[in-house]
């Protein structure tokens, strides 16, 4: 772990809270903030490639609307704040490609509830971010548009699948972003890019308008430069939605008022197996360092066990592809999406449209899921995985009897090089080992910066029981308050060679 550097305000770009205070004090307009984001995207995105599309005119219109509402006295923390949106979340009339040829011309007829709530709060979408096709991947390389680059080192992957959203926030193109997390797709890119990423409790945020991958695991969540930024977005997007019957009706607590209050008597659980073979020493040291920080802040560090966690990757890669094979059956070349030019029968129309429209990773997962659900294999694969899933959840229930949060690594390594794991899907899947079980158990988890190794960020994961977001965010803030990792910015240069 490298030594903390003093924060350098001149090189750090504004957080959502700083931007909000500028805007609400009248020193900055929403239109100007959106313009500044657009200029930064123009200067840097030739290198980073975080965005698939932007629509300056529509962003300006949303910003003008935000300025009007601020003039009318809007008190929203997000009024005028630029937000980057992962390209698997629908906005009426805007492209929503899922980084797939299948949806290259799709314009959804409705807006996702999470995006609708951000718009209602005055946030200004400034572009659609790159992802692994249909959110299937851990590197943002499986994109029809090509990979996004890690702002800390452009030869490295930003993580995935929400790599574009993480990179956009890390590069200062937007202070906040939305992503989706099915097996780590918010937390892993947050760790690789050195930003905060939160996967809320399953059902806390409506999935309406999120293009479905694995419906029992998918959850929308925020990226931000700080814990407060992530909490502010969650406050806005959380809550029951009649349009998603799996969204929870539990009232949404206040995530912000007590956020800066340290938790007295916090019990931090540590799982010895997490620090076993396969974990890079620099990552282990940084995470152990963070655990020591908690101890020094008065937290009790408790050893807990998750005996079935070593089965989580295998369980996930049966359940998620099974659900995907069913969800993606809707792409038939008939209702919307790609249709092959040449076909004879209806059968051929389906096979060719899907064969041409989907990339290899999506095909692999559809086939894997179809196989796991097929006659003769259902019991051995899918049913077995659903049973192990129960055991994984029970492990967490037992662990959270003894602790309030579990601290762990997010990833076994810092950001890997683009292309490094591209030909070995299994190795790529195994890189999700620390994040996947939270989705299987439905519990909230976040990643926040806890160090650097050779110039690349390292993430600390905190997990808590279902609906424990208030405590989880406060625990994260306690650590963040003592460090300056989140104030560091990547050494990016724009096309003209000038460091912004």
């Amino acid at each position: 772990m490298t030594t903390p550097l003093p924060p350098d305000p001149a090189s750090s770009y504004p957080t959502a809270a700083e931007l909000s205070s500028e805007i609400r004090s009248g020193r900055l307009t929403a239109v100007a903030a959106a313009q500044a984001s657009a200029e930064r995207i123009a200067a840097l995105d030739g290198t980073v490639r975080a965005f698939l599309h932007t629509d300056a005119e529509r962003s300006a219109a949303w910003a003008a609307d935000a300025d009007r509402r601020i003039a009318e006295g809007s008190q929203s923390d997000l009024a005028g704040i630029p937000v980057a949106i992962k390209d698997n979340l629908c906005i009426e009339g805007e492209p929503c490609t899922c980084a797939s040829r299948m949806l290259e011309n799709f314009r959804p007829p409705y807006t996702a509830t999470a995006v609708r709530r951000l718009l209602d709060a005055g946030a200004v979408p400034i572009g659609r971010t790159n992802l692994d096709e249909f959110a299937m991947g851990s590197s943002t390389e499986n994109s029809v548009a090509g990979p996004t680059r890690n702002p800390w080192d452009p030869v490295r992957a930003p993580g995935g699948s929400s790599g574009g959203s993480a990179a956009a926030v890390a590069a200062g193109m937007a202070p906040i972003a939305l992503g989706s997390d099915t097996g780590g797709s918010i937390r892993q890119p947050a760790a690789f890019c050195g930003v905060v990423g939160l996967k809320p409790t399953y059902g806390r945020v409506s999935r309406y308008g999120l293009v479905a991958f694995a419906s029992s695991l998918d959850q929308i969540g925020p990226f931000a430069r700080t814990v407060r930024g992530a909490a502010t977005v969650l406050q806005t997007i959380a809550g029951h939605d009649p349009l998603d019957s799996t969204s929870l009706s539990d009232p949404v607590p206040d995530y912000l008022t007590d956020l800066d209050e340290p938790l007295a008597g916090l019990r931090v659980g540590v799982v010895a197996d997490h620090f076993d073979v396969g974990l890079d020493k620099e990552v282990a040291d940084a995470v152990q360092g963070a655990i020591e920080t908690y101890r020094s802040l008065g937290a009790e560090v408790v050893n807990v066990t998750l005996p079935h966690s070593k089965y989580s990757v295998a369980t996930y890669y049966l359940i998620a592809p099974s659900e995907a094979s069913s969800n993606l059956a809707r792409y038939d070349g008939v209702h919307y999406g790609h249709r092959a030019k040449k076909f004879g029968s209806l059968e051929e129309l389906y096979e060719r449209s899907r064969g041409e429209g989907f990339g290899n990773e999506v095909k692999r997962r559809i086939m894997l899921g179809t196989y796991a659900l097929s006659s003769g294999y259902y019991d051995a694969f899918y049913l077995k995985a659903m049973k192990v899933r129960r055991l994984i959840q029970q492990d967490y229930d037992a662990a959270f009897e003894q602790c309030d949060v579990i601290a762990s690594p997010v990833t076994p390594t810092t950001a890997f090089a683009i292309g490094e794991l591209a030909d070995d899907p299994l190795a790529m899947y195994l890189s999700d080992v620390y994040t996947i079980s939270a989705n299987l158990a439905g519990i909230p988890a976040l990643s926040l910066p806890c160090g650097f190794s050779k110039g690349l960020p390292i993430g600390l994961q905190l997990l808590g029981p279902a609906l424990s977001e208030p405590k989880l965010l406060r625990a994260a803030r306690m650590y963040e308050f003592t460090t300056d990792w989140h104030t560091r910015v990547p050494p990016l240069q724009d096309q003209t060679g000038v460091t912004p």
Binding site: L318, Y371, L383, N439
Partner: protein, 110 residues
């Protein structure tokens, strides 16, 4: 309860069958790579065989899903025009597909 042992190695023919079940056109040249990759993944997931899951209830969802009831009140639906707007082929009223029964007045690709 006793559970059947998972697969022997998945073969190229199995993958071709699964591609057909999935309605995915896969080129013969791609079958080999998919077979090797699926074989590696399925070999790995066989790890689950060592877990004793006797008497464990399968868990299909992260939260216990209950029936959700609401008043049956009519609300506006997606207008036909919007529902058809993204379709590759329509006649303005219906989605168009190639002929599946006898007759000759349905469209097909060349």
């Amino acid at each position: 309860m006793a559970e059947p042992a998972a697969n022997p190695q998945i073969t190229r023919e199995d993958v071709a069958r699964v591609a057909r079940l999935s309605r995915l056109a896969v080129k013969p040249g791609e079958l080999k790579a998919f077979t090797n990759q699926l074989r590696a993944i399925l070999g790995y997931v066989n790890l689950l065989d060592e877990v004793d899951t006797a008497d464990v209830e399968p868990m299909a969802h992260a939260i216990e899903v209950r029936d959700v009831l609401r008043e049956d009140v009519p609300t506006p639906m997606l207008p036909r025009e919007a529902a058809l707007a993204n379709a590759p082929a329509t006649d303005g009223e219906f989605f168009l597909v190639p002929q599946i029964l006898g007759g000759s007045d349905t469209p097909s690709g060349k």
